[in-house]
């Protein structure tokens, strides 16, 4: 308590110096006067009295000094003194200060921005209760990697697992809200009753689902998202308990989720982040067919259970499943557990870490540049420092002062970096790739602020320490005697090393950015198997009471196609169940085999299944390799036919044409169908631009009726009038049919390139900053060396050296560290670029062209930066140069 009080009082003392000093003076004077008076009373003369009083009192100045030290905080006092001095120095050299702060702001700001993303994506835990124990449980199949689970699997897991607290599951579907007002499509989550309570602590209104609400064949209870509750029901607080219509059936609203609730699932798991409503699974999961895999399973580990232990447990459960169910043993079913957060960021982590590494190189270059500036300033300040040392300043004291200056500088840089960084954060956020979409927004949070502060302090020490140590190690006598010329050559070496380092680091960044930019270029060139130009897509959901029979669905879509095509400017209209690069609906993939395949070859290979009507391939400009598209008569007669892609055709019939062959496929309602191949189409990239994940099978819509379909409309009409045209035609056929998901096909393709665009844009910006900094670094060192050698150049000229010789000498000397830097950078790049390999496409990590280009670019920039100072050297007037001091 009394210590705190002392500290507070001392802190106050810092600011009350002037009045404090005056008071102390008055008090001491009063004391002395009293002593003198007393001495005079004892009979001394005034002189004697004064002298005796002084003796009795002791050193006045010492007493004052001790008093002042007691009053303030000596550490802070010294700091304030150094800061005041530093401010004065900076104000005297505004050019130097501005350049240094701008350089640091670039370096630190770039780090702040990237760190804000790293923090929000990789470091922050997901916004769920006990998020660190949440995992995703995937089913794995012999050939197909990981996928969703079936109902019996989930039930089995719940019964057997000891290490998991609970399991929940979701299947993302679509539904339509009908009844009062405009019909509206909703993203509907079919969930196990505990799913929502695993991801949210409480509802905003009402309650979560109850266990007994599952398996009632048609859902009776529904939970709404905050967004749906607000915009459709006007945030009505009395909605709980009321009945609304979902797909034409009445359901009771039992709860509303909190406003910030969203579902964060790994990319490619077909669970979109924003779902509108949730209903319990209508089936009793235990009675599902064991090979109907559609449930995305999450599990919460018990406290203390680890992922490896859980994996071991799941391995043994999978073995039990295989021995109890023949289907599972045929599929070679396995179970895999991964932490939810790790799985969500799996795709963005490498890119983010690469960018984080790159941006720290940028900071190093910035520090090297500022160190360079400080070194040239240190030479100018040598006299001042020598004088300080001469009058008794200890070396540590001088170093402390110089470090205070550099840290102050870097803190200014850090402050400017916060401004720059928050601007850059917005840029990053607008560029963010799909894998980051569902995560928290980046913001200038406390950890980001702390990171920036720490970075500022560290860089202040980093670039300040070497110049400080160098300047203070001077020999006093030498430096007082000499005015600096001979020292200059020796001092040039650390500056050259800094240039070499800058060029080498810049090389690495340039090479990396070059490779990433080439990746983006390859992605822009890559043929996705279709032409997205002038194709508009909309989504339609033909569900509810009007569409109880397959015929009703077929009739609706066929009429819509016919009516739309009759309009001027419409080239073709396709109908498809799944658009390429659209991850909002659960992917539909299943086993297929040729009709005559032996039992052992069935249930081994999967393909993406799509349901379509004639016109889809034409609207996307897909290429037929063999055979033909579906025709009107095929639809009318509901013929057992199918179109496959080249992947399926060559895998199933490697040595003969697929046309006319029979295939066993699954029709989307877990019923197998034997169909004849009538066409082979070139693979349409659907999940990524670069990987063919699976083969593709296109079923004829009447044989695989689905409610949720998309239109692909190729036309020459501008998109706004096209959309209203489509809306009009839909309303004419069914005034209750919602039209949603209106998006040009180009946007889907662009989405697939987002991740590459993100990394390459950022890497490009970093490389540009690095080159700019390296350029200024080289320039400043070269011009400084010309300045230092002015006298020597004068002598050479006086002795008959030609300007060309002087030019060559300066160029040679200034380019030497650049060349060494290029060499070191080359070696570093060859060592480091393989780390990029998983981010690259269409270019090898050691691509000689890219690396050579980086070298040549840096060399050219070095030449450019040295040219001006070298030319200045040739234009020196020898007389003036000789006199220069």
């Amino acid at each position: 308590m009394s210590r705190m009080r002392t500290f507070a009082s001392r802190l106050l003392g810092l600011f009350r110096k002037r009045t404090g000093d005056a008071n102390l003076d008055a008090e001491l004077r009063a004391h002395l006067d009293a002593l003198i008076n007393e001495n005079i009373c004892r009979g001394m003369s005034v002189e004697e009295a004064r002298f005796a009083a002084r003796r009795e009192f002791g050193g006045i100045e010492q007493a004052k000094e001790a008093y002042r030290e007691q009053r303030g905080l000596p550490f802070v006092d010294t700091l304030l003194q150094d800061l005041r001095f530093a401010f004065r120095i900076f104000a005297k050299k505004p050019g130097f200060t501005t350049v240094a702060i701008a350089t640091l702001a670039l370096g630190i700001g770039a780090n702040t921005a990237i760190f804000s993303v790293v923090h929000s994506v990789l470091l922050q835990s997901l916004p769920y209760p006990a998020a660190d124990r949440l995992t995703v449980v995937w089913s794995t199949f012999s050939n197909e990697g990981r996928g969703p689970a079936s109902g019996p699997e989930l039930v089995y897991l719940r019964q057997r697992s000891r290490l998991f607290e609970e399991f929940g599951g979701i299947w993302a579907q679509s539904g339509a809200l009908t009844g009062e007002g405009e019909p509206e499509h909703v993203r509907l989550g079919l969930v196990t009753p505990n799913f929502l309570s695993m991801l949210a602590t409480k509802t905003q209104l009402g309650r979560f689902l109850l266990p007994e609400e599952q398996g009632t064949f048609s859902a009776k209870s529904i939970i709404l998202s905050d967004a749906l509750w607000r915009h459709r029901f006007g945030a009505n607080p009395h909605l709980i308990g009321q009945s609304i219509r979902l797909n034409g059936h009445p359901v009771t609203v039992v709860g509303v989720l909190p406003p910030n609730f969203k579902i964060i699932f790994p990319e490619g798991s077909s669970v979109p982040p924003q779902m509108d409503a949730f209903v319990p699974f209508s089936s009793n999961l235990a009675q599902d067919a064991p090979d109907q895999n559609y449930i995305r399973v999450i599990g919460r580990l018990r406290k203390g259970a680890t992922v490896p232990k859980a994996q071991a447990e799941l391995d043994s459960i999978a073995a039990q499943l295989r021995s109890e169910f023949t289907v599972f043993s045929e599929q070679a079913l396995g179970l895999q557990v991964v932490p939810l957060h790790g799985d969500v960021v799996r795709n963005v982590r490498p890119a983010l870490l690469t960018l984080f590494g790159g941006v720290s190189l940028v900071l190093l270059i910035a520090c090297a540049n500022v160190a360079n500036l400080l070194l040239s300033r240190a030479n100018e300040r040598r006299k001042e420092i020598t004088l300080r040392t001469a009058v008794g300043a200890a070396r540590g004291r001088v170093i402390r002062q110089l470090l205070t200056e550099s840290i102050l500088l870097s803190c200014f840089g850090g402050a400017a970096a916060l401004v720059l960084g928050s601007w850059a954060m917005n840029l990053l956020w607008s560029l963010r790739p799909a894998g980051m979409e569902s995560l928290a927004t980046t913001a200038l949070s406390l950890p980001v602020f702390g990171f920036t502060l720490a970075l500022s302090l560290i860089s202040g020490i980093l670039f300040g320490l070497a110049p400080a140590l160098g300047t203070t190690s001077l020999n006093l006598v030498e430096s007082l005697k000499q005015s600096g010329r001979s020292l200059a050559t020796a001092r040039q070496r650390p500056r050259n090393i800094l240039v070499t380092a800058e060029v080498a680091l810049g090389f690495v960044l340039l090479a990396g950015a070059g490779l990433l930019l080439q990746t983006l270029a390859s992605l822009l060139r890559v043929d996705p198997g279709f032409n997205s130009q002038h194709v508009m897509t909309v989504r339609l959901s033909a569900s509810g009471v009007k569409y109880q029979t397959p015929e009703a669905n077929v009739h609706f879509f066929r009429e819509l196609q016919k009516n739309l095509s009759a309009n001027n400017g419409i080239e073709s209209v396709g109908v498809i169940s799944h658009l390429p690069f659209d991850d909002t609906l659960p992917n539909w993939y299943s086993y297929y085999w040729r009709e005559d395949a032996p039992k052992t070859e069935q249930n081994t290979v999967m393909a993406d299944h799509r349901s379509s009507l004639p016109g889809y391939f034409q609207s996307l400009g897909a290429q037929f390799i063999a055979g033909r598209d579906f025709g009107a008569i095929d639809v009318e007669e509901n013929r057992p036919i199918v179109i496959v892609d080249d992947n399926v055709a060559s895998r199933t019939w490697p040595n003969s044409s697929a046309i006319g062959k029979k295939l066993s496929v699954e029709n989307g309602n877990f019923v197998r169908d034997t169909v004849e191949v009538i066409g082979v189409v070139k693979h349409i990239q659907s999940h990524s631009l670069t990987d063919q994940v699976r083969g593709q099978i296109y079923l004829l819509y009447p044989r695989a009726v689905r409610a949720h379909m998309a239109l692909t409309v190729k036309s020459s009409i501008d998109s706004q009038s096209l959309v209203s045209l489509i809306r009009g035609e839909v309303t004419k056929l069914d005034k209750d049919m919602p039209v949603y998901g209106i998006l040009p096909m180009n946007d889907y393709v662009e989405k697939a390139r987002r991740s590459a665009r993100f990394t390459s844009t950022l890497a490009g910006i970093m490389a540009a900053i690095a080159v700019l900094l390296a350029c200024t670094g080289i320039y400043s060192v070269a011009s400084y060396s010309v300045l230092q050698r002015t006298g020597e150049i004068g002598v050479r000229m006086a002795l008959g050296a030609k300007p060309a010789e002087i030019f060559a000498m300066i160029m040679r000397q200034s380019m030497l560290p650049v060349l060494v830097g290029v060499g070191v950078g080359l070696a570093l790049s060859l060592g480091l670029t393989p780390l990029l390999s998983h981010l690259l496409f269409g270019v090898r990590p050691s691509d000689p062209l890219t690396i050579a280009a980086a070298g040549i670019l840096l060399f050219g920039i070095g030449m450019l930066a040295c040219y001006l100072p070298a030319r200045r050297a040739t234009q020196l007037d020898p007389i003036a140069a000789l006199r220069y001091e």
């Binding site: 009063a30 004391h31 006067d33």
Partner: protein, 115 residues
Amino acid sequence: MPLAPPRGEVLQGTLDLIVLKTLDALGPLHGYGIAQRVQQVSEDLLKLNQGTLYPGLLRLEQRGWITSKWGISDNNRKAKYYSLTRSGRKQLATETATWERMAGVISRLLGAEGA
């Protein structure tokens, strides 16, 4: 940084105790008065540079044991008067107790050895 040790190796704690005791016994006093009293009580055994008293006074004030106020001295001059606070009185009591215990121990020890 700490208060320079007074002549005669007076420990800081001892000086604190003396100052507190002085203020307790005589009421508010200025620095000069305290210095006189210290020398008087110690019978000039503790010869201290009177200037060194002031950092010590400041320290006691910072701890909240004494307060100061400007006033007018007997010979009509402006002077800063120090007085004991409540927590200073408490501090004096504990320090006195500690000191007496200590002195008891020392004298017993010395007495035992002398015998």
